[in-house]
């Protein structure tokens, strides 16, 4: 390489660097020059690509829908909402990058996100350290909000569904004898089973059988023979749909007539293909149903369908709800100071599309769950159970 060429490269590099520097300074000037804020910057993090893409797209759509509706109705206290959407790809490292970018570069005041607990756990410490409140719509791992007081969630945590089932059995069905069959190798099913057992006993019921099985089992007959011998009124199955389908089949074949109850692990169309007629009449809890009779929920379903051409799933509903909580908090805080927003969020007490919602000391929501009943191979709305 000749000397002149080296010089040419060096000069070009210098010019490029200078231009970049100038533009960066300019941007900074522009930011600090704004005297009164005219916009609220809110971040949305969701796995828009990758394995959980369908979840991520629903989540983004739900949150975006509400923010756009607020803007169309005049914004928050005269300010327009500007959203910054980041894709975490379902990967904790990508999630942490998204959090840093939203806070440092886009200067958001609150973050709605994200779907998977492991990714939320990567973002939460960043939110906590930088003092930017976050609300995850769907991360159910209890550890997420325990990261610190700037971390909230819009969904109830898993064990709450054990309480819902116990409450339904003792108060609505008015029965006293329950049996449980759960997957011992799964924290989700184990948590639900234990909470159900404790709450059911507390409510005056008796657990006549508390049985488990190893993950991957297909033959549940040994446990079901034991359960059949004690003739329970209710059989609580906090497992995933495919196990529940097989258990229901084997239990009904054996002549067990107990009412089946379960949690949101049942939520799949395959429950009906595997369980067939055996699962008919089974009741399970979930975060949301598009068939909810609450007027706010019906309006949400209508608007969502009009904009995206499909019915909202539970993820879209929870993201919409998280967006409602964020907007309500900013409104009540009366400023876009992140700490003021956090303080307002902690004292949330509002009607959303799933009913009244407040937060407990660990920033987990206290809210109702919907109960769905299996009827003719579909899950239909049965009731709402409040804590």
């Amino acid at each position: 390489m000749s000397k002149r060429r080296i010089l040419r490269v060096a000069v070009t590099a210098l010019v490029v660097f200078a231009v970049l520097l100038a533009s960066a300074c300019e941007k900074k000037d522009g930011d600090s020059a704004a005297p009164a804020p005219t916009e609220v910057r809110i971040g949305i993090v969701a796995p828009i690509t990758g394995d959980a893409a369908t979840f991520g797209i629903s989540t983004r759509n739900g949150a975006q829908l509400y923010f756009d509706q607020v803007n169309a109705a005049g914004g928050i206290n005269g300010m327009t909402i500007r959203t910054f959407v980041e894709d975490d790809k379902g990967d904790p490292a990508e999630g942490a990058n998204a959090w840093s970018k939203l806070i440092d570069q886009d200067k958001v005041v609150t973050i709605v996100g994200t779907v998977m607990s492991k990714v939320s756990l990567a973002g939460a410490p960043i939110s906590q350290n930088k003092g930017i409140p976050m609300i995850s719509p769907t991360s159910t791992n209890p550890a997420v909000t325990l990261v610190g007081d700037y971390v909230f969630r819009a969904c109830f945590i898993d064990p709450f569904q054990g309480l819902v089932a116990a409450k339904y059995a003792t108060q609505t069905m008015n029965v006293r004898r329950a049996a449980v069959l759960y997957d011992a190798g799964n924290d989700y099913t184990k948590g639900l089973a234990e909470v159900f057992r404790d709450e059911f006993i507390k409510m005056g019921g008796e657990i006549v059988a508390f049985e488990s099985y190893a993950t991957g089992t297909s033959d549940f007959n040994a446990q079901l023979v034991k359960i059949n011998a004690v003739a329970p009124d209710v059989l609580f199955l906090p497992n995933y749909y495919n196990d529940v389908g097989l258990i229901a089949k084997q239990a009904r074949a054996m002549g067990i007539s107990a009412q089946f109850l379960g949690g949101d692990g049942w939520d799949s169309p395959d429950l009906f293909t595997i369980g067939g007629t055996a699962i008919e009449g089974g009741i399970f809890s979930n975060h949301f149903t598009a068939e909810s009779t609450l007027p706010a929920a019906q309006a949400f379903v209508r608007d969502y369908e009009a904009r995206y051409g499909q019915k909202p799933d539970a993820l879209a509903a929870l993201a919409y709800e998280a967006a409602m909580i964020v907007v309500d908090s900013i409104r009540r805080a009366g400023s876009i100071d992140p700490t003021a927003i956090r303080d307002a969020m902690a004292t949330t007490n509002m009607e959303t599309i799933t009913g009244r919602i407040t937060f407990d000391a660990s920033r987990n929501p206290i809210k109702g769950a919907v109960l769905l009943e299996v009827r003719n191979g579909a899950a239909v709305y049965k009731a709402t159970v409040n804590p």
């Binding site: 011992a184 488990s212 297909s218 033959d219 040994a222 446990q223 389908g245 595997i274």
Partner: protein
């Protein structure tokens, strides 16, 4: 009493399926001294083939059961032959460990391949197959053009073999590419669970025996099919020329070849019969527990292996008895284990589910040759 009888019937149901897979293990081991760990996957493929057939052919119920059982058995037998030819035959003269490790490889390969053959990822499989074909062509060309790596004349390029290989890879790739809409139509979900449409075969009917004890037509069918298959197998091994050749190969392969018997075809037949039985077990299992996935064969495969060891590996009666004992032992262990013991709610069920492995350890310690096995000969 009622509980005991019910558990007994369900234990037999469990054990029958173990016994059928165990027969495959034991037969091949008896003749070739090879543990074919891929039987669990053949079991899975039996269920899968049966699933495809039921979805494709709306036949009258009784005929449907027979077709849905026999066709997968035949397909699994072909697979068994292919498995032997591709993976095990080239290693026949090599140390036994090489074939054993290859068997584990075949097992992983099959389950993972099938897990990718869902409507979502079947095109990936197709691309992989085309890429492999391309690689073979590239290697052949580079070998031809640059003579690299150097190969002796005798082991040079066999153009016919290579062409067949590339052709079949491309054909499979094309099939996989076209299969996407078909698989979506069949509602096969690859690695996630798919419901097995047992309702299309027959309706489950219960026959009460005594009190709450009953037996279902499904249980009767699987027990009858298993007994018929086992009797047929005993006949084949003990009363036919092929069986005699098999038993002779078990004792001394060199002497058998000197008698003018082709040991390799005897072994191939053993594989064919063993895999057909594993395929039948897969179909029966899918009928009993109507849920299938690409990884459904791993656990039954392991348990059946233990059943074969318990009965005495290499012994056909041993595999049957071992399978039934395993099924009953598991059933009663789970049935008797307290699952919420004391104030701390200690759960003993996972321990009971692992009783098969405890049995394996005890058998290996006390009677390594199993119940019906021949005692190991001392090598001088």
């Amino acid at each position: 009493m009622e509980v005991f009888l019910s558990q007994f019937i369900f234990g037999i149901q469990r054990g029958t399926i173990y016994a059928l897979i165990a027969l495959g293990y034991t037969m091949v081991y008896g003749v070739v001294r090879l543990i074919n760990f891929a039987y669990g996957e053949v079991f899975m493929l039996g269920a899968l083939f049966s699933f495809f057939i039921i979805q494709l052919m709306p036949l009258p119920p009784v005929l449907n059961v027979i077709v849905a059982l026999l066709v997968p058995m035949a397909l699994c037998a072909i697979l068994g032959l292919a498995m032997d030819t591709v993976a095990y035959k080239p290693l026949r003269a090599k140390p036994r460990l090489a074939a054993l490790i290859t068997a584990i490889g075949v097992s992983f390969f099959l389950s993972n391949l099938v897990s990718y053959i869902g409507p979502d990822s079947v095109r990936t499989v197709s691309v992989l197959l085309f890429a492999t074909a391309g690689l073979v062509i590239l290697m052949t060309l580079s070998q031809k053009l640059f003579n690299f790596p150097k190969v002796p004349k005798s082991t040079g390029i066999n153009w016919l073999k290579r062409s067949i290989m590339v052709g079949s890879l491309c054909l499979l790739g094309a099939v996989a590419w076209i299969a996407k809409p078909a698989l979506a139509l069949l509602r096969w979900k690859g690695s996630s669970f798919t419901a097995f449409p047992v309702d299309k075969l027959f309706e489950v009917v219960k026959y009460p025996i005594f009190g709450s004890v009953y037996i279902t037509n499904v249980q009767i069918v699987i027990i009858i099919v298993a007994v018929v298959l086992m009797v047929a197998l005993s006949f084949l091994v003990n009363r036919t020329m092929l069986g005699m050749a098999m038993r002779a190969s078990k004792n001394n392969k060199e002497a058998v070849s000197l008698m003018g018997i082709n040991v390799n075809s005897v072994i191939a037949f053993t594989f064919i019969i063993g895999t057909a039985l594993a395929g039948a077990a897969g179909v029966l299992s899918a009928i009993t527990y109507p849920r299938i996935t690409a990884f459904m064969g791993i656990q039954p495969g392991l348990k059946a292996f233990i059943a074969a060891v318990l009965g005495g590996i290499g012994s056909i009666e041993g595999a049957m008895v071992g399978g039934i004992i395993m099924g009953l032992a598991e059933q009663f262990a789970i049935g008797l284990a307290p699952s919420s013991f004391g104030a701390a709610h200690i759960d003993f069920t996972p321990l009971a589910e692992g009783i098969s492995f405890a049995i394996l350890i005890v058998v290996l310690l006390l009677r390594p040759q199993g119940i019906f096995g021949e005692p190991p000969q001392d090598k001088v």
